[in-house]
Structures are given as structure tokens and as C-alpha cells.
Symmetry: C2
Subunit: 422 residues, 2 copies
């Protein structure tokens, strides 16, 4: 009898975005006339065209595939050298960080990396896992799937995970656990943060690195929104912290800088010095395990796509990507300042393409979602969908046209003047 | 302390192809003058240009990504409807098979699918796993990685797996286990077979489906080489067998028909009727688990690539793909007939792009590999690399230029006349 992975049956009611899609569908079937005016600021999906440099590189690569001499079959298991070298130089060495091309692993994006990394680590609760709350749901669900949790409790939290609250009280950056608290073995951190748009300081990140080194923990550091950091003196990479190359793996994505959500490419940096342990205390470099994982379980990403990603690092590519980032950041500024002018309490939108807003008048996240949908025809993301500490907040995405962003602020002003949601 | 997945430490000495690459490197460093004359018939990697219809479709898709109105961000979690529909019609419904678009799951290729499928099944030996010998090494290694095996024994076989010998005696098709043998829960079958090039008959496949239905087992049926079936009355799909939609998932690849080894796209067919079981005997449809796996752990494949794959099903695409397949099949014929003329015992090359040759004069697989490399400057794959039943065989790939294939036969003739390998 073929037995299934029963951990899947623990997964609570479906992923956040399908639930949003369901409510939008109901709204539109009740109000078909609203379809044309609906503005989606929910899922963080880019809207602007792919940079010209990227498209040109992909056209050239497609043509190369049309001639026998330049045709490419199977590529390198962890990505082509040309891309790994462009990344190591552009994202690390040019910033004084000591990461080389052999420490870069190309993938089809952070969603894949976040789940694949669990393949090389012990499961079923052998590691104590620290996850911020609110959090990108994929971190949680992939841990459920591999048996690192118990069942979901009433508040949506899973038994067996250690939740690290991120609230206005701590500026949405979790405190390092005290000496009397259980020791964490794996720690997920994401800055600029999805969903709150908050940012971590150099000193705060240093405290986490020191914690990890002291307790032989590994930090999964997700910098998918790195390109949106505008304020000086904030850490762009965890490897700016001494010793992080012995305790951290960093997740990068081209989705939100190059507009690659539909192109699918990202990478991890896995330093050679980074080790995990066997249950009897032997040190094992993660680099070899991660290489083996990729060479056995995947043939990596299309040549054409990797050439497109490489173009992000060309002078034209950089300029065009910066143009995209500036555009979305200006959207974020409009959203943030608009909401602040309405007297709302807003985080994010400075170093991130998301604004995180405390719901007015004591509304719940889903109440506010429903009001925004039904009364303003705007789709946002309910904060509670990212974890119980997100209750009472909503996330608005700045990935949209300028026109739509301005319109969203105007509609919110109208609702606000009508005492939004009361 | 962050604990690693110690099952990775059981993996025997590295994947087959890296070992081949190592020996080739040594050969070329000892004989740099040989580099220009080296012919690679080892790894089954296509060599001919990507079909024009595919390239045109990808160019169009790249251009679409350059305009705001036609730009595509995140796609559908299990692949775009346009591709799933083209597949359901072209590969199933047009052949009278009842598989619909919702039962098709797009992926970046069979290597990914073969490993990902284990995510949704119980691990650590909860299922008894039947694997043919010789076999595509990825089936074995991915089972090692998730703890479905013990350690490797002297002959390279892993404790805990059930090996199904494929030998000249059974025509390289394993017999269904007898009533007194342990019941299998998961069964890997691949026809046309990699590496032997052998094919299964309708009746033989029917026996396996009946076995699976009787014992509530699931068959992983890999048809990556489906396009190479030339003889009539052979099963192109397991769903030609009654009841297979209740016990089989089918793995498809565009690598060997469309020449997609460097483009990365494939798919699985997972019928809605297919179920697995909880340990207390409850039926659970695999379709829902597989959907959840894909929507949580991946954002699927680039829009551009999926448009390229769709073009395989256009009238021009079909014609161009058939041209590629015919070209490689003619190579296979030349290899097969050439080797037969030398008095060798050859399987494959009729319904598959591989020929599987019994080493002459009692040579071992690696002996023959070394002789072919050192004396003929030809890289082949040692049969034993695919399992202990492959000892005494080699695999020659027909994926090459016509010129090279003819030259390989000529060099083998010269070696043969010098009493090859003795």
C-alpha cells in the first residue's frame, strides 16, 4: 500500500493568496460592474515591462540555440559560470564582501530555494526553528510539509515552531532569545521585510549573527527586497557582519529588482565556511550538501533565462533595473504619505515596496480587507494572513501603475472621510 | 545546533557523470592532443539546434514581456492553461486517452519531477520501493536523500531498496513479483528504457498495472523517450492500460523530443483518480497533494519557456520535432547496425536513442569505458554506473552529429579488428 506524506494533511486551509482570490471572485460575481475598476495591490507581483537589456540578452540566447555551434544542452548543475561570476562580483565583491562564484547557486527563485534548503537539514523536529510572525507563508508551510511541526492551533500557529513576534513594540525586528529561552537551530530572517516593509539595523543583525555563532545555529537570510534599501548604513547583506559566512545562507531573487516574477531566476549564497552538524557533533560543510542537492534533483535554469539574469549586471541593465526600483519606490512613497496624511499608522515604504498599515478603528485584518474590497474596489493583503501578529494590519503592495497607486490613495481618502470601516 | 540531513552522507562516491568527467579530464591532461578528436557519446545530451517554431515562440514571448499590456508576472502554480491544454490534447486526447488539462503539471523537467514526487509520499522506508537495475541514477539517489534506504553495499546497491533485475534473460523488462515475494508500494518503470534502450510490451505493462491495482501500489512511469517509439503496437503511455489512471503517474520531458535539455521543461500527468493511503488506510487523492506541493514550493516555469514548449504542439513544431527524432534515430541505427556487424550483442537503438552493448571478451564496463576513451577517444557510459546488473555493458548515446556517429563506428571497427580491449 503506497503511503502518502501525512504532514501535508496538517496544512491549514489553503495558502493565503488562494483565499484572497476566492473572496475577489465572489465580489466580482456579486458586482460584475466592479471588474473594470478593481485595483489589485495584494500579491507582490511586478507590473512593469522587463528591462530592455534583459530582453535583448534573451533574444540573443534564443538565437544561439538555433545554431549547432552555439547550441547549449545541459548546463552546469549550480548555474552557468558567467552568471555566478557576474553575481559574485556585482552583489558581493564590489561591495567588499568575500563571496566567490563557487559559493553562488542559481535557481528558479526564492520560493524553490526556501523549500529546497530544508532537503539538506534534519527534519521532524530535530532542529528548533525560529520564524518571525508575521512572515512569508512559504517558510511555515514548507516546514509543515517536511514534518518539522505538529498540527495547527486555533490561532493558525503550528505546534513545534518557535514564533518570533514582530510588532510595533520592537520595530518589527525580533529580539534575540534570552539565555533562559530554548535555543534556536534554524532562524528565518527577511530584511527588507515582507510583509511589514520594516528594516533591520546593522547592530540588530550583528546580535543575531552572534547568537547563531554562539549556539551553532544557521540563519536563512532572505534579501529578496535588497534593491529597495534607500537609507544609508543599513545592511544590504548579512555578510557585512563578521562571522556571518560561518552561520548564514543568503536568499536572493531577481523577481523584485529585474521584474522576474514570470521569468523565474534567483540564487543563494552558501559560503564554504558554513557548516551544519551530524547528531554526534561532527561538522559538515553545507556547501557540499547543497551542491549535491542541486546536481541530483535539478538541471538548473534555462540558458536563455540565465543570460537574461546576467544582463541585470550590465551597465544598461543596472540603469534600467534602478529605474524600475525607483518607480516602485515612488509608488510606495505615495501610498505611505497618503495613508499618513489620513492619520494612519504606517510602517514600510521607505526601504521596501510594501506599506504595512495598522487598521483604523480596531478593525481586524479581514474586516479591513472586505471593506477595501467591497467599498473601494481595492484588493490588499490582510496582515493576519502572514501570522497571528499580523492581526489588525494590512499590507498594500506598491507594485502597480502610478495611476492605480494614486487612485488607491484617493479611494482610501473617500472611505476615510466616510469614517472608513466604522 | 543545526543538524543536517545525514542521509546525504550515505550517497556513494558521487553521481555517475561527474566520475566520467573526471576520467575524461585525466585523459585530456595526459593527452592534450586528443582534445580535438574526442567524441562524447556519454551523457544523453542533445546536440542539434532548437526547432525554429520553438525559437519563434520564445522570441514572441520575450517581446510580450517588453510591453506593459502583455507583460506576465507570476504564472499559474501548475503551469499555464495554454500549455496544459496543448499537452492534454496532443499527448493524450488525440490518442484516445482520457487525461485533461487539470491533470497536467508543468515543471522544469523530469529530474525535478522524479525527486519532487517523493515529497508527497511517506519516507524513511514506510514504502517498499521497486527500482529496475540498471536504472537512471536519479531514482536511486533521491530515495537515498529522503531516507528511504540504508547504506550502500559493496556492489553499490542500497539496503532497503528492492532491485528488479533487467537482463538479457528477461529482455530488460522486470518480471512482476510473485505472490511469495514482498509487496512493492512504489515502482519505477521507464520505457523506452534509459539506459538499455529496451521497450516494454502492452501485455507486460498490463501485468504491472494489475499488480499495482491489486496491491495498492503506485507506478512512476517515465516516458522521457516516448518520441523514439517506432514499432507499432507498443504502449506510448501507461494510460493505454485500463485502470492505470488509478495507479500511475506519468513523467514526460521535452528534453529528448524538442531538444530542451538546456531549456528545461517537462510535465507529469497525475490523474484525479490516483490515490495513496494514510497509514490507517484512508484514501487520499494524489492530485491535491501534488497541486499543493507545486503551489507552495515553486512558482513554476518561465512564461517564455512555456510558450516555447507550447510550440512543440503546433503543426510546424511537430514536423520539426519529428525531424530531430528521425535524425537521432538514424544515428541510433548506424550505431546499432555497425556494432552488430562487429559481432556485438546490441539492445536498443530501435525505439530509443541509446544502444546497450554487451562488452566483448568479458571486459567490465569501466574497462571498456577506459579502452574506448584511451584507444578510440570516444566517451561512452559504463553500464555498471546504472546499477550492478549493468556490469559488462556499455551505453552509447545517439545524440550527436551524423559525422561523429559514423566516426565512432569506424573507430570501434578499428579497435575491434585489433581485438578490442583484449
Amino acid at each position: 500500500m503506497a503511503l502518502i506524506n501525512e504532514h501535508y494533511l496538517k496544512l491549514a486551509g489553503g495558502y493565503l493568496f488562494p483565499e484572497i482570490a476566492r473572496r475577489v471572485e465572489i465580489h466580482l460575481s456579486d458586482h460584475p460592474e466592479a471588474a473594470d475598476r478593481l485595483i489589485k495591490c495584494g500579491i507582490g507581483d511586478v507590473t512593469e515591462p522587463l528591462p530592455e537589456a534583459v530582453r535583448q540578452a534573451m533574444h540573443r540566447a534564443v538565437d544561439e540555440m538555433g545554431a549547432r555551434e552555439s547550441f547549449r544542452g545541459y548546463g552546469e548543475p549550480t548555474g552557468y559560470g558567467f552568471l555566478r561570476e557576474a553575481i559574485a562580483k556585482g552583489d558581493f565583491q564590489d561591495h567588499g564582501l568575500n563571496i566567490d562564484a563557487e559559493e553562488i547557486f542559481i535557481s528558479d527563485g526564492s520560493k524553490t530555494d526556501c523549500s529546497a534548503i530544508l532537503d539538506i537539514l534534519a527534519v521532524k523536529g530535530a532542529n528548533r526553528i525560529g520564524i518571525t510572525d508575521p512572515v512569508y507563508p512559504v517558510y511555515v508551510d514548507t516546514n509543515v510539509m517536511c514534518g518539522n511541526t505538529g498540527v495547527a492551533k486555533e490561532d493558525g500557529r503550528y505546534e513545534g515552531l518557535t514564533y518570533l513576534p514582530c510588532t510595533p513594540g520592537n520595530g518589527f525586528v525580533p529580539d534575540v532569545p534570552g539565555d533562559d529561552e530554548p535555543k534556536l537551530d534554524l532562524i528565518y530572517l527577511c530584511y527588507p521585510n515582507n510583509p511589514t516593509g520594516g528594516m533591520i539595523t546593522h547592530d540588530q543583525l550583528k546580535a543575531w549573527v552572534e547568537y547563531a555563532l554562539k549556539h551553532k545555529a544557521i540563519i536563512f537570510y532572505d534579501v529578496a527586497y535588497q534593491a529597495y534599501i534607500t537609507e544609508p548604513n543599513l545592511p544590504r547583506s548579512i555578510y557585512e557582519i563578521d562571522g556571518a559566512d560561518r552561520c548564514a545562507i543568503e536568499f536572493h531573487s531577481f523577481s523584485k529588482n529585474g521584474g522576474f516574477t514570470g521569468v523565474r531566476c534567483g540564487y543563494t549564497a552558501c559560503p564554504r565556511k558554513l557548516v551544519g552538524w551530524t547528531s554526534d557533533g561532527k561538522e559538515i560543510p553545507l556547501h557540499g550538501l547543497w551542491s549535491r542537492r542541486w546536481s541530483t534533483k535539478s538541471n538548473n535554469v534555462a540558458y536563455i533565462i540565465q543570460r537574461g539574469a546576467e544582463a541585470i549586471y550590465s551597465p544598461e541593465g543596472r540603469e534600467q533595473v534602478q529605474g524600475l526600483v525607483d518607480f516602485y519606490l515612488e509608488n510606495a512613497r505615495i501610498l505611505r504619505e497618503g495613508c499618513e496624511a489620513m492619520g494612519m499608522d504606517v510602517t514600510g515604504g521607505v526601504n521596501a515596496p510594501y506599506v504595512w498599515i495598522a487598521c483604523p478603528d480596531g478593525l481586524s485584518s479581514w474586516d479591513m480587507f472586505d471593506r477595501m474590497l467591497n467599498q473601494a474596489n481595492v484588493v490588499i493583503t490582510p496582515g493576519v494572513g502572514f501570522g497571528s501578529c499580523g492581526e489588525g494590519f494590512i499590507r498594500i503592495s506598491a507594485f502597480n501603475s502610478r495611476e492605480n497607486v494614486v487612485e488607491v490613495v484617493n479611494r482610501m481618502k473617500m472611505l476615510s472621510s466616510e469614517k472608513l470601516g466604522v
